[in-house]
């Protein structure tokens, strides 16, 4: 069932199920964030966290909440949303769930670029990640191009380039001193350890800046799910549209990688999970954003809960994403798409 919204400047139609599922997911985000705030080596009671947030409590309690947990949680949510959006955009554009930036090497490119930037300049992570992702995308697409972009070619070549870039990252690690290398190795798995308000600002201002473009591009993206011939005959201009989508997707992936590291499988799993919850053949960008945020929040909170050892959050997203990938591969095989 569809609902209609009609204002003088805006008219939309959306499915009732999407609204219901979306509300539940947002509620989950809220509950999950509060839990993540309260849980940890210094737990807060059901009521105390709120009074500390509002200014009560001791200095140390305020520091734990305001300087450590809150920025970490907000970064996790923002980075997860970026991963989810980027993945769902590429998957819808390529009409193939395997074509997500973490599978086809874009995230590996972003993290490799970030590493090079750190080693060369000691900073500029965002710029490095962006350039790395962009160059990787150009390389993968130009190698996979054969009168269009056949999904199998894109996935296989992307996988290969991703492995090569991962090897390059390892090589870079072996060339730096042991301390930096240890930090970077953790970052390469994906971690939200010691995120501060600067990370929050980067990722969320990125999301807010890109939001209008995302709203605008959602309209043609939803039509791109039909074949090229059909979307073209409906009046879409495919080449500029694909270029815009790829640019936006890379920006989002780079934004996520530079604040949370190349967390594996989040971009890949968020879209298919969102589409399984609302199976109506639409890109489910918002759903993928919220699922991505939830996945990263859950992984990061889990990584904080394991006592004595600090496992990076990437270990947990891989634990969630691996089975999703196996499930999708099996579905794809059954449909004869691989």
């Amino acid at each position: 069932m569809n609902w209609s919204l009609r204002l003088p400047f805006l008219s939309l139609s959306f499915s009732a199920r999407a609204v219901a599922v979306g509300s539940c997911l947002l509620l989950l985000v809220k509950v999950g964030s509060v839990l993540a705030l309260r849980l940890g080596s210094y737990p807060f009671t059901e009521t105390s966290w709120l009074s500390v947030l509002l200014g009560a409590g001791s200095e140390i309690e305020r520091m734990i909440l305001m300087d450590h947990r809150l920025p970490r949680i907000l970064t996790a949510l923002g980075a997860g949303a970026c991963f989810g959006l980027s993945g769902a955009m590429f998957q819808t554009m390529m009409r193939n769930p395997l074509a997500s930036p973490d599978v086809i090497g874009f995230n590996a490119g972003a993290s490799c670029g970030a590493l090079i930037a750190i080693i060369l300049t000691g900073g500029n992570v965002l710029l490095g990640a962006l350039i790395g992702a962009l160059l990787t995308a150009i390389l993968v697409v130009s190698l996979a191009w054969k009168e269009g972009l056949p999904p199998q070619r894109l996935v296989l070549i992307g996988l290969g380039i991703g492995f090569a870039l991962a090897a390059l990252s390892d090589l870079l690690l072996s060339r730096t001193d042991a301390r930096t290398a240890a930090d970077m190795a953790e970052w390469l798995i994906g971690t939200l350890n010691a995120r501060d308000w600067q990370d929050v600002t980067i990722v969320w201002s990125g999301v807010l800046l890109l939001a209008p473009a995302l709203f605008w591009i959602h309209f043609p993206l939803a039509r791109l799910g039909l074949s090229d011939d059909l979307s073209s005959s409906l009046g879409l201009r495919l080449s500029p549209l694909r270029l815009g989508l790829t640019g936006l997707g890379i920006l989002l992936a780079a934004l996520a990688v530079c604040t949370a590291g190349p967390l594996p499988f989040v971009a890949f799993a968020a879209g298919p999970i969102a589409r399984a919850l609302v199976p109506n053949g639409k890109p489910a960008l918002l759903g993928a954003a919220v699922i991505g945020a939830l996945l990263v929040l859950a992984a990061d909170t889990a990584s904080r809960m394991v006592p004595s050892i600090q496992l990076p959050a990437g270990v947990f997203t891989a634990l969630i994403g691996g089975p999703v990938m196996i499930w999708l591969l099996m579905v794809q095989f059954r449909k004869g798409k691989l």
């Binding site: 709203f215 309209f219 074949s227 059909l230 005959s233 409906l234 589409r275």
Partner: protein
């Protein structure tokens, strides 16, 4: 000669990997009529239709829509006047009939205006005309072949264009469903004067439903005209290499091919 038709192919040549498919082909798609393009396999029928719909760029020559080259007009503006349903189209899994038909409104919509009253009206009308209203909330893959094809036609109708191109709309349908679908297309053409051009394999169905037939052979027009002019013993032998008798269809009076 009458005023030029709104859709006109002028000296079209198309080649794939240096193999010529269409050779210097000039054709009018008469306004308000049903035109059927026929010819043997690999004669360039689909390529001609796709060129007319600007999905195939010609190597030389041009397609004129309302007097201007179709490739030089804004894609969206073309889409408001001309709809094409390609051969065996595909949709993302889970898409409902209602959402599919709404996709047809794309050239009249924008990101801010995704579901206007006109959209709702056009979608409702297309669903009614094709008899798909009862299935509006079903996902496409839950429908039978005939219903699915009607849903696609409904999408093309919702686009609300004066010209409708269809590439083998009856593929994979059994005979009753082929007749049902073509009768449906004929009724839109008669009610709203919509110009229809389609590729059909079955020469007898073409003879029955067409006002105008274009017969292609090896990338060029062999002959064109009314069914009675085109569907003759001599033409069938030349176009299809088919020896046959032509009788008058006892129900509709149109020519009917009986292969020998």
């Amino acid at each position: 000669m009458n005023a030029p038709a709104r859709l006109h192919a002028k000296a079209l040549s198309v080649a794939f990997a240096k193999t010529p498919i269409l050779k210097d082909l000039t054709a009018d798609i008469p306004d308000g009529k049903i035109t059927v393009i026929v010819g043997p396999n690999a004669c360039g029928k689909s390529t001609l239709l796709r060129s007319l719909a600007r999905l195939q760029k010609p190597d030389s020559g041009e397609v004129l829509l309302d007097g201007k080259s179709i490739h030089k007009q804004a894609n969206r503006s073309v889409a408001q006047r001309l709809a094409i349903l390609p051969q065996s189209p595909s949709a993302p899994e889970g898409l409902t009939v209602q959402d599919l038909v709404t996709r047809g409104r794309t050239p009249h919509q924008s990101a801010l205006r995704q579901w206007s009253h006109q959209d709702a009206e056009a979608v409702g009308r297309a669903l009614e005309l094709t008899g798909m209203a009862p299935y509006a909330n079903r996902p496409l893959e839950a429908l039978s072949g005939g219903q699915r094809q009607r849903a696609w036609i409904a999408m093309a109708l919702a686009q609300d264009t004066e010209i409708l191109l269809l590439d083998e709309p009856t593929t994979y349908l059994d005979l009753p469903h082929q007749i049902e679908l073509l009768s449906l297309i004929q009724s839109f053409n008669q009610q709203s004067n919509q110009t229809v051009a389609m590729v059909l394999h079955d020469i007898n169905l073409a003879a029955r439903f067409a006002d105008h037939i274009i017969a292609l052979r090896a990338g060029a027009i062999f002959t064109k005209g009314s069914p009675a002019e085109v569907v003759t013993r001599n033409n069938m032998e030349q176009v299809f290499d088919l020896r046959c008798q032509i009788i008058s269809d006892p129900v509709h009076g149109t020519p009917h091919v009986i292969p020998e």
